[in-house]
Amino acid sequence: MKPSSLICLLLIVPALAQAPEDWTTYGKNNAGWRFSELTSINTNNVPSLAPAWIRQFGSNGGNETTPLVVGGLMYLTGPSNTAWALDARTGQAIWSYKKASPAGLNLCCGQVNRGFALQGDKLFKVNIEGVLVALEAKSGVTLWETKIADYKKGYSATAAPLMVKNLVVTGIAGAEFGTRGFVEAYYADTGKRAWRFDTVAAEGDPGAASWGGDSWKRGGASTWITGTYDPELNLIYWGTGNPGPDMNGDVRPGDNLYTCSMVALDAETGKLKWHYQFTPHDLHDWDAISDPVLANLTVKGKPVKALIQANRNGFFYALDRTNGKFLHARAYTKVTWADSIGPDGKPVLIGGNEPSEEGTRTCPGLGGGHNWQAQAYSPQTGLLYFPSSQHCMLFYKTKQDYLDGQWYQASTVGENEHGVGSIIAIDPATGDTKWHFDMVSGTSAGMLATAGGLVFGSDGQGYLIAFNARTGKVLWKFQTGAPVAAPPISYAINGRQYVAVMSGQSLIAFAVPK
């Protein structure tokens, strides 16, 4: 690290940690809590919450971004390589950014983007074609661009980067195209690469034996949601996605490390400190990419530095984040593929759940019990909040040869049942569900917890909903006019607290009327 970056770090990091009115990183803090310390919107006055302003962008595609707010300015990314800076009090645009994306992208899920990372006067985002970009925060002018992956091979980039000291840490997407995932760190000032961790174990890696033949070359394990960071342990935590091809394991015998896993990486070197695989030899596309939430819990009377996640495979997990040891797991939705997770941390499998030519019914379905939707953790209640689906699907296996850069799934799914959804509050120390709000469907929206005793989330039909964080009682709701596919954030300007969320093509900022 250069001395100048060190000074910068010393000045900035404590400042960021001390600013409850701002929202300066994807998960609000390094631990991914999405917990706002602001209290002026609270259980008493939330029923009067109303839109303060609405900004319509008119962009095409899904809006999944977590806006950042600092110093009264809001920075947010849109689909198709777009971004804006807005006055966070009025929604007035200050600058905009647009970079044409190339033709010939291979995307599973649209030209989405989930947000900026911020350090000092610089913003960092990925563009869909696999380019990491640094922008000047006050102007939106490009400072540097670094290619991180080749879109022609099926890679794409969608996640908000994570700032760790002077490093911009980024993941990648593309596990449906025979790619090989990674986590990389780049120097914030130059865009030069500091380190890379390959999430598919290759020859020479202790995990290589978990792949039959050369199947690791197309092994997937993409890293398409932002990780978290523990500065005391100096470890970065990042979840990894499905093995490739998705629901056909015939060509990839073995556990397929490090797919569907949590990896803990040394922040200086990117070296693997530990890993834990939630779903060995996954056959149902159950990525483990959901944000790893870091919380210090008391488990069976003992304090433990935990990592908690509602995994896509239908189980909620708590791990010891110092060493990756399994603490406990509990099904939070309907699960038919495993009886339980054993004391050794391995699933106790139920037979007959392998995808087949004519279809095999398994619960949860391909989207999982809880997918990528941002979780929220409240230190006030000690509860973890996340949206969930209860849904089963038919999983089909087909034959498919690998072609460079082409869709490589060798499998598909069908639905013949109507799923339902819920928003769940779980006690991470035990896995007990404390409350749940049942919904007519699942939702793509994420969660926000606040010190006002509130939790915000959205259903699949456009309602932004405020719950009492302890009881789950609905205290307020607002029909935003389009399905929400992003998590809400909260910030304050001159003491006035806002809750803001992307809905459809609009950013809506709510406040208690003056």
Binding site: E358, G359, T412, N416, V440, D459
Partner: protein, 251 residues
Amino acid sequence: MRFLISLCASAFLCAAQTPPPAATQASENGRVVFRIYCAPCHGIHAQGGRGPDLTRGTYAAGDTDADLHRTIVSGVTGTEMPGFPDFSQNIVGDLVAYIRSAAQREPPQIKGSFKDGEALFWAKGGCGACHKIGSKGGTLGPDLTRAGRQRSYAYLLESVVHPDADISPGFETITVVTRDGKKIVGVHRGYDNFNALLVDQAGKFYSFDKNEVTSAKQEYRSLMPGTYAKLFSPAELDDVLAYLMTLKGVQ
């Protein structure tokens, strides 16, 4: 990956199928893509379901390769068929190859008289009370103006005999019990976590806040009577199906 099926939920009618002719690499690639994107509506073997049967070798939006390319890329306006503008030309070509290989070119055996079926539909069956054909008929049930294009024979037969087998989106049954004990049953016009909107059999529209009623529920069943297999003789049923299969849109 995130979502695979976002187009529509579906019921598979896995009818027995004759295997397709020897598959080329293109048609085999197409079959894989078809299973992912098209099977939810057109059936796992392209035999139709909520979407048209594609094994007949004749297509509503045109029969040439160019027509099929355009239909896949751009969709069909005014129908449930979306476009797939992000598909590469190669993928579209593979899909067309698969659709060609799946086409049996033998139209389903239609035994009945469509003329007699038309009379049965409007008179004895009373189907027009709820279904519209062209500008004639009611609005409670799905519009059947293009039913012969949009649905397969097997799907239509099942829909007449077992109306609950697959409910088209937007035609679920909603039942509300109000605080004064009144029970209102009707067809879905909107149902979410907080509201229930419906039209009853008399055509009256209701909008309820779920918090202000005793109960509100949505069921995946049809308001259509399940008695048509008894009402119609087997020969009459053939006639009605023959009529439905002639419905290919207003000329």
